[in-house]
């Protein structure tokens, strides 16, 4: 139980701790007060929000009727989930039918070759979520692979930092919407494989995400490396560590907490940018979903956009928590990361 409490605290599930302590009969009055405070207050706030939203929805008229309220959004969320399940059933049935037909075909002409067909259904909402996650992680990975080594060089060499500085300062504030056309043209020009492994729109979105989420990781890494305790570097000097060994054994470990701070910020930026990138690049993800639903322009589709808003929010929150856990795991000084 004690270990479970500690785990909850480490992964940021602080609200669960009083329940666990209560189960252990540890000072029940205090635990109940904690529960009321830590859970009661947020729930109250959420209820007020839902109430306000319902009132606005009932009173604001838009071009296609009324604004969807919480109930309509919840209904649409269920519809989207049902649609996903229906599509999966259809897919399973398709492959079943195909297997039967293949058997019949081969029975009739044993020498013939059967051509497998892929199910051509449209991606469901859940598929789109996973496409978005795949895209954002690809972009994030590209960003990390570029930003961390560059950041280390910036931190180690003042000259390199001065060389990089103008680019960092100028490119950092650029919106994904500005990058996207350039990336699109570059991808079209350079990505011409015979059998494409990835969709062009996927690569375009991923690179746009990478270009925008590069900067926090780069800046934090370079700061982490530049502010290494001089004593650690003196150890490297006394031991006569080579450059590469110094970077591996001293520089990277001591900068790791800040590197992860940067990566956490980068992933947050990447997730935010992704939606815009997908909208424009027409990558089959949440961004495209939002855009398509906007084009449909009905009360139901507006409710579905709101479902997407909440989905984006919750996934962003989950990604941040994931990075926070990683960040805590690498911080050696025992400091609590929030």
């Amino acid at each position: 139980m004690g270990a479970l409490i500690k785990t909850c605290e480490n992964v940021g599930l602080n609200w669960a701790v009083p329940f666990l302590r209560l189960a252990r009969r540890e000072n029940p009055n205090e635990q109940i007060r904690q529960i009321l405070l830590n859970i009661g207050v947020p729930i109250l706030a959420i209820l007020i929000f839902l109430g306000g939203w319902s009132w606005v929805a009932a009173n604001v008229k838009v071009s296609f009727g009324s604004l969807p309220g919480p109930v309509a959004v919840w209904v649409q969320a269920k519809t989207l989930w049902a649609g996903h399940l229906a599509e999966r059933t259809k897919e399973a049935e398709f492959y079943k039918r195909q297997a039967v037909r293949k058997k019949e075909f081969l029975a009739q002409n044993p020498d013939g070759t059967w051509e497998e067909r892929k199910f051509a259904g449209s991606p469901t909402y859940i598929d789109q979520i996973f496409t978005s996650l795949k895209t954002v992680f690809t972009g994030f990975l590209i960003a990390a692979l570029i930003a961390v080594p560059l950041g280390i060089l910036c931190g180690l060499s003042k000259a390199f930092n001065l060389a990089m500085n103008p680019f960092i300062q100028v490119f950092k504030p650029v919106s994904p919407l500005a990058w996207l056309p350039i990336v699109m043209i570059m991808v079209t020009a350079l990505y011409k494989p015979k059998e494409p492994m990835f969709e062009k729109s996927f690569i375009t979105s991923a690179f746009t995400v990478a270009l925008c989420s590069l900067w926090p990781a780069l800046i934090n890494t370079s700061l982490g490396v530049a502010s290494i305790d001089n004593d650690y570097l003196n150890i490297a000097r006394v031991l006569k560590l080579g450059w590469w060994k110094k970077v591996r054994k001293i520089v990277i470990p001591s900068a790791l907490p800040l590197i992860f701070t940067g990566l956490r910020l980068s992933l947050g930026v990447g997730w935010m940018v992704l939606i815009a990138a997908e909208m424009l690049a027409q990558n089959p993800g949440l961004g495209k979903f939002v855009w398509d639903m906007f084009q449909n322009g009905s009360s139901e589709t507006l409710a579905q956009i709101m479902v997407a808003v909440f989905t984006i929010g919750f996934i962003g929150f989950a990604l941040d928590r994931l990075m926070m856990v990683l960040q805590r795991a690498v911080s050696f000084d025992g400091a609590t990361v929030r």
Partner: protein, 303 residues
């Protein structure tokens, strides 16, 4: 023949009119196996002197030689134990020592290197804490790790830069005894820098006072001809101990060793700017977070 030799060494910081001389005209000669203590005021330039011997800094004038070879860069043959331990916080006790052993004895087989590291952990009585991280250790234990790491490099000379000044009195006393024991076992040449005259007398063969800065220089040396092992309680009543003590303190408080009447001081104000880890600071702002008042100079009158 001199083992470590400093000839007319001077060091200062800054340029032109703002230049502050830290050390001037330092001459020192140490024979092999000797334990020398340098005693002086805080801020007199003791750490600068140590950095020069270690090769972390180069002198402006003069020469430092070890066995006739000029000291030009840091090297494991001049192992240094820093005042603030300087252990790598992400490595365990064993890993901290192994990092040094693996680097210095790269040509040894792995099993021999491991044994070597374990031997020095045992020497400072830290075998039970072998896998602990530095932050789980007390100050005294950390300093012992630091001493073990330095000794494990098998240096020609061991440099102790105020190794005990951050510790409480009791830990300090027990570590002094431990350093005395380790020295008599390992018989290394040791340079100890300290602000504690008694510590110097307890451990060293020779004590040399360093006058107060700026432009600090070494005063007349005093030999400690008290037989070893020295017992700290008996020492307190030893007339030789009292004589050496009053000689050193007399020099440091006398006209030669005393701080100058006025001096330029480097003032550091308390850091009042919060540092935001999550806020990426501007790269224009320089390399590390700047502290307020870092560069303040003020001339103060001293009694």
């Amino acid at each position: 023949m001199a083992f470590l030799k400093l000839t007319n060494v001077s060091k200062g910081y800054g340029l032109g009119a703002r230049r502050a001389s830290v050390l001037r005209g330092i001459n020192l000669s140490i024979v092999e196996g000797e334990f020398v203590a340098i005693v002086g005021y805080s801020g007199a330039g003791k750490t600068t002197l140590m950095s020069l011997i270690a090769g972390l800094q180069r002198p402006d004038e003069g020469r430092i030689t070890l066995r006739g070879d000029e000291v030009k860069e840091p090297s494991p043959e001049r192992a240094i134990v820093f005042q603030n331990y300087s252990l790598l916080p992400w490595l365990s006790v064993y890993e901290n020592i192994a990092l040094a052993v693996d680097e210095v004895f790269a040509d040894w087989p792995a099993s021999k290197r491991r044994e070597h590291a374990e031997k020095y952990i045992a020497m400072v009585n830290l075998t039970p804490a072998r896998d602990k991280k530095p932050r789980e250790l007390s100050g005294g234990m950390r300093q012992r790790v630091s001493v073990a790491r330095a000794l494990a490099m098998d240096p020609k000379i061991l440099l102790l830069d105020e190794p005990l000044s951050a510790l409480d009195a009791i830990t300090r006393a027990s570590l002094q005894d431990e350093i005395g024991r380790i020295w008599s076992e390992a018989r290394k040449t040791v340079v100890l820098i300290t602000n504690d005259v008694d510590e110097g007398i307890l451990l060293a063969d020779r004590i040399i006072p360093l006058s107060a800065g700026p432009g600090a220089t070494l005063g007349p040396e005093v030999r400690v001809e008290i037989e070893r092992p020295r017992d700290r309680t008996a020492l307190n009543h030893d007339p030789r101990f009292k004589k050496i003590r009053s000689e050193i303190i007399g020099y440091l408080l006398g006209p030669g060793g005393k701080p100058k009447v006025s001096s330029t001081r480097h003032l550091v104000l308390p850091d009042i700017e919060p540092e935001h880890l999550n806020r990426p600071p501007s790269l224009f702002a320089g390399h590390r977070p700047r502290r307020k008042g870092e560069e303040r100079h003020e001339t103060v009158e001293l009694p």
